[in-house]
Each structure stands twice: as C-alpha cells, then as structure tokens.
C-alpha cells in the first residue's frame, strides 16, 4: 500500500465526493466564515441549538478533499449530540491530529473521523482537517452566548 493511502482513506474520498449537510440551512443560531489564509480554503458554517443539544450543522465551502471530508464527517458526528459530548469528541479529534501518526484514534468516540488519523503525519495538512472543527467551535460558542 502506498504511504499516501494512509492519508486518502476510502472514507475520506467518499465524504469528499458526497459531502454531508453541505447546504446552508437558513435558520441558525450562529453563522461563521473561516478562511485558511495559507491556501485560500473557505468555509461558511451554520449551527442551531436546541437547549444544550446540537439541532443542526450545515455548511458550504471550497477546499481540498481533507478539509471538505473533515467537515462532512464532523456534521455526521455532532448533529444530535449534546454540547458536552461535542466537546469531548472535538478534544479527542484535536488530540489525534497532534499525534504525528502515533495514534489511530478511538473509533467509539470518533467513528468515521478516525479515517483522518493519517493526516497527523502530514504537518502541512493538519490545518486542512481542522478548518471545519475550528469553525464549529467558533459557531457553537456564539450560539451558546446568544441563548
């Protein structure tokens, strides 16, 4: 297997070709727009909450397969979770991204997101994988503040 296949797992390419929740829903509690200034990738992300639960996350953007798949996976993973659970999952994902390829990720917590483990071996691509997660973090803080 090529080393590159660690990066471009099937799951990632699937999400890239069929991104989930990639259509901005008009009703939201917070909307953010994040840019990766080193490559020009952009994302707009909407979050709506139901008390402490995440009712919906929708997004639109342009970017590489890693950034697009990562946010797609994020929406699958976090919609319906409580903010507390989302925090735990986000922390786990951050930890995985910083692991320099030494960890596989906990599939019970991260589900499809473990497919992104290979990204941690490519320092230049970690920020691609984190673009959507940073946008979600920002949007959820704003949405909570509004409530």
């Amino acid at each position: 297997m090529m080393q590159l296949d660690n990066l471009y797992q099937e799951v990632i390419l699937d999400h890239y070709k069929n991104p989930q929740n990639k259509k901005l829903v008009l009703e939201y509690d917070a909307q953010v727009h994040h840019i990766n200034p080193s490559c020009g990738d952009e994302i707009t992300l909407n979050v709506s909450l139901d008390g402490q639960s995440i009712r919906n996350i929708s997004w639109d953007g342009v970017g590489c397969s890693i950034s697009q798949a990562s946010v797609s996976i994020l929406t699958d993973l976090l919609i319906g979770k409580t903010m507390e659970q989302a925090q735990e999952i986000s922390d786990s994902f951050m930890h995985l991204m910083q692991s320099k390829g030494t960890e596989k990720g906990d599939e019970n917590v991260l589900e499809d997101a473990v497919a992104l483990a290979g990204v941690s071996q490519y320092p230049a691509r970690i920020k691609c994988a984190l673009l959507g997660w940073m946008a979600f973090k920002d949007a959820s803080v704003q949405a909570l503040a509004k409530k």
Binding site: Q3, L4, G40
Partner: protein, 414 residues
C-alpha cells in the same frame, strides 16, 4: 553554448537526495525558493569559518576582510544589474526592500519629491505578489493617496488599454512585477516606464521572478527602483537587494535607523550617511551577501542567456505536453511570447492541495494555493492553482515526470 541541466544539477547537492520512500526528487518549486549550488554553500560557510567580523566597524584584520567580502559582493551584484556600486542596498529580503521604499516614501516631508498626500496616486497591478501590493496599499491608506491598478486580461496579460488614465498627473509611483509569480507573464515595461516618467512618477520593479531567470539591466530598462530576493536566485536566504538610481536615493529618506547609517549624531538629532549606507542600519547579513555574490558569479559562468533559453525550451515542452491532459487548464499565457518558466494550472475537480500531495508522493515538489497573489487568483476565478516553476537545473525528464504524475493523480482521485 547551450546549457546541460544534468551537469548543472550535479552542482546542487540537494538534487541528488531522495524523498518519500526513496523517490528521486523532482524540484519544480524554484519560484518559491531555488536550490543552492555548492559554491554558494561554501562561500557562506567559508565567511563564517575564516572572515567573520562586523563589516565597516573595527580596526582589525578580520573586520577589514569582512568589509572587503561584503563590498566585493556588492560590486558583483552591481555589475550583474549594470548598476553603480553605491546604488545597491543589501536588505534581508525582497519584501523588506519593498517595505523599505514604501515606508521611506511615507517618511518624506512636504517638499521632498517622494512626499505623498491626498490627491496623489500609486499604481500597481492585479497580478502583484502580496509583497508588492500590501506595502503600497498601506502607504496609500496612511497618506491619503489613492491606490489604482492595472487589470489582468483573461489570458493573463496586463490590460494596458487604460494606461493614459491609469498613469496620470496625480501618479507618484508605479509599482509593478517584472514577471508574475503565478502566470509566468513577463510585463512589457517600455511603454509603462515612458508614461510614468512623462507624468513625473517613479517606477518600482519587483524583479523577484526575473533577475534569477534572465538578463536584467536596470539602465536599459530605464526603471527607477528594483527589488529582488537572494534565495530565489540560487543565493542564500536572509539577503535581498534594493536598487535605486543614485540621484533618487539621495532624496529618499531612510526607513530603518540605527548603527552605521549616520553621518553625525547628537542626543536630539541625526544626519544620514550617503547611499547605500543610509539604507543599511545595523550589521548587515554579511555571510548571506557574500553567498549572493557567489550565486551571481555562478550564474554568470553558466550565462543568463543560456539559462533563459533553457527555461524557454523547457516551458514550451511543459505547455505542450500538459495541454494534452484532459481537464487541465493553464492559468496564464499559452504562448511563449513574453513568458517565463512559471506554469500554473488546474486539473478538473482535483483540488490543488490533493494534486500537490499526490505529486509529492512521487517525489515531485510543486507549489499549491494562491501563491501570495490572492486578488489575482480571485479575479481569475480559481481559488487555488498548482504551480510548477522551472530553473536551470530542471530537465526534460522532470517535465515528463510531472506530466505522468498528473495523469496518475487523475486515476488516483478519479
């Protein structure tokens, strides 16, 4: 005499290393930074090994040798550009050179020819690297001057149809890239320089992508100021050049102040040394300047005409082969008329980051993204491109490797 890139490549030790599981390195990112020949690496380290002392200071032999080495490098650069020795200023980078002139103009008092105020204008182009856009954009904001710009046509050429209204009596500066770092376009300067001088404006040339690749003669170009970086021209990082015509440097106020740029100092005032010292506050990057001198000596030996001819022939080969690949779209001129060895392109729906990553897995180093020219890539409607930039050590085999790498990437992501 033509150039043998296989022989040239032997002078660059990094080109014989392997990467990513033993793949041969195919380095197609010289537009970002060039690789260094042994003579440059040796010259830089030999300065530290044998001659290191603070140039233009100290009464000892090492200080004399360091001064000689620095000034010898300046003379080499001056000769390379067909400039006067005292017109050549060492900076740390092209970015610093462009900030030097824009901040220096911002320091000019009313009455000084470089003073800017509301009602004046600065002209740039849409194809500028951020380093030749933001300093002028911010100078305009600080002084109240207006920033104007030449647009870029769909073919990636400057639209000069509006030149007479663009450069008018209000224009004080025209700051332009010589060769686009994204499109490869070489800008025609004669008409622009003539028009600028007719209205009393100065022309600042960003020569980062031209000086390494072709003969640049500041006198025959007729320009007023020029900036480039050492590291793109087989020289070390940490050294750049700012050149200006002597009579203009006399009137240009300093940017950085401090040691060795002065004539006389009291507790409350100071007067300035003449150029180039006026613009070289602090101990200069001597070892890097010496390395840059060695770089130009090396390039002279190969011959700038040979280098340019080699790059033109490789670029023509690349343009020809890459356009046979389905879904490849070149962003920039398709013909070799006024065009250098920088080729940006998109490949269908494959994001440049993904393409770059695939090529890297094959040992091929390219640049991806907006190449620090975000307004340009936005204008052309491509959020990012992949860029191959060629230099004297690249070979036809490497062009073939890139082309088959792109085809393989299409299969991989298809």
């Amino acid at each position: 005499m033509s150039l043998n890139p296989y022989e040239i490549a032997k002078d660059f030790p990094i080109l014989s290393r392997t990467i990513r599981d033993g793949k041969k390195l195919v380095y197609l990112d010289s537009g970002a930074t060039s690789q260094k020949p042994n003579v440059v690496i040796e010259a830089e380290s030999n300065f530290y090994r044998m001659h290191n002392a603070a140039a233009h200071r100290g009464a000892h032999q090492l200080a004399e040798e360091a001064t000689d080495a620095l000034e010898n490098a300046r003379a080499i650069v001056a000769e390379f550009l067909n400039a006067e020795v005292d017109e050549v200023v060492f900076t740390k980078s092209a970015t610093e050179s462009l900030n030097l002139i824009s901040y220096a103009m911002g320091n000019a008092e009313p009455g000084n020819r470089f003073h800017l105020k509301a009602g004046d204008s600065i002209v740039v182009s849409e194809m500028e690297h951020h380093a030749n856009l933001i300093p002028w954009q911010q100078l305009a904001a600080r002084t109240g001057a207006t920033l104007k710009w030449f647009e870029v046509t769909a073919e990636g050429r400057l639209d000069l149809s509006s030149i007479d209204s663009m450069i008018d009596a209000t224009t004080k500066v025209v700051a332009l890239t010589h060769q686009s770092n994204v499109l490869g376009t070489i800008n025609p300067l004669t008409e622009i320089v003539k028009r600028a001088h007719n209205v009393g404006a100065v022309v600042v040339l960003d020569a980062c992508q031209s000086v390494p690749h072709m003969k640049v003669d500041v006198k025959s170009l007729g320009i007023d100021f020029l900036a480039f970086s050492g590291h793109k021209t087989v020289g070390p990082t940490g050294v750049g050049i700012f050149w200006g015509r002597a009579e203009l440097l006399k009137d240009l106020p300093p940017f950085l102040t401090g040691g060795s740029m002065i004539e006389n100092v009291t507790m409350t005032s100071a007067t300035w040394a003449g150029a180039p010292r006026k613009f070289e506050a602090g101990v200069p990057n001597m070892a890097q300047a010496v390395g840059l001198g060695a770089a130009f000596t090396y390039l002279n030996k190969v011959g700038m005409e040979n280098i340019h001819a080699h790059e033109v022939s490789l670029t023509a080969l690349l343009l020809n082969e890459i356009q046979d690949i389905p879904e490849v779209k070149i962003v920039g001129p398709l013909d070799m008329n006024l065009r250098g060895g920088t080729v940006s392109f998109t490949v269908g729906e494959i994001h440049p980051h993904d393409l770059g990553q695939y090529l890297d897995s094959q040992g091929i180093a390219v640049r991806t993204g907006h190449h620090c020219a975000w307004p340009l890539t936005r204008k052309l409607g491509v959020p990012a491109t992949t860029r191959a930039s060629l230099y004297l050590y690249n070979t036809p085999e490497e062009i073939h490797a890139l082309v088959s790498g792109i085809r393989d990437a299409q299969k991989y992501f298809g």
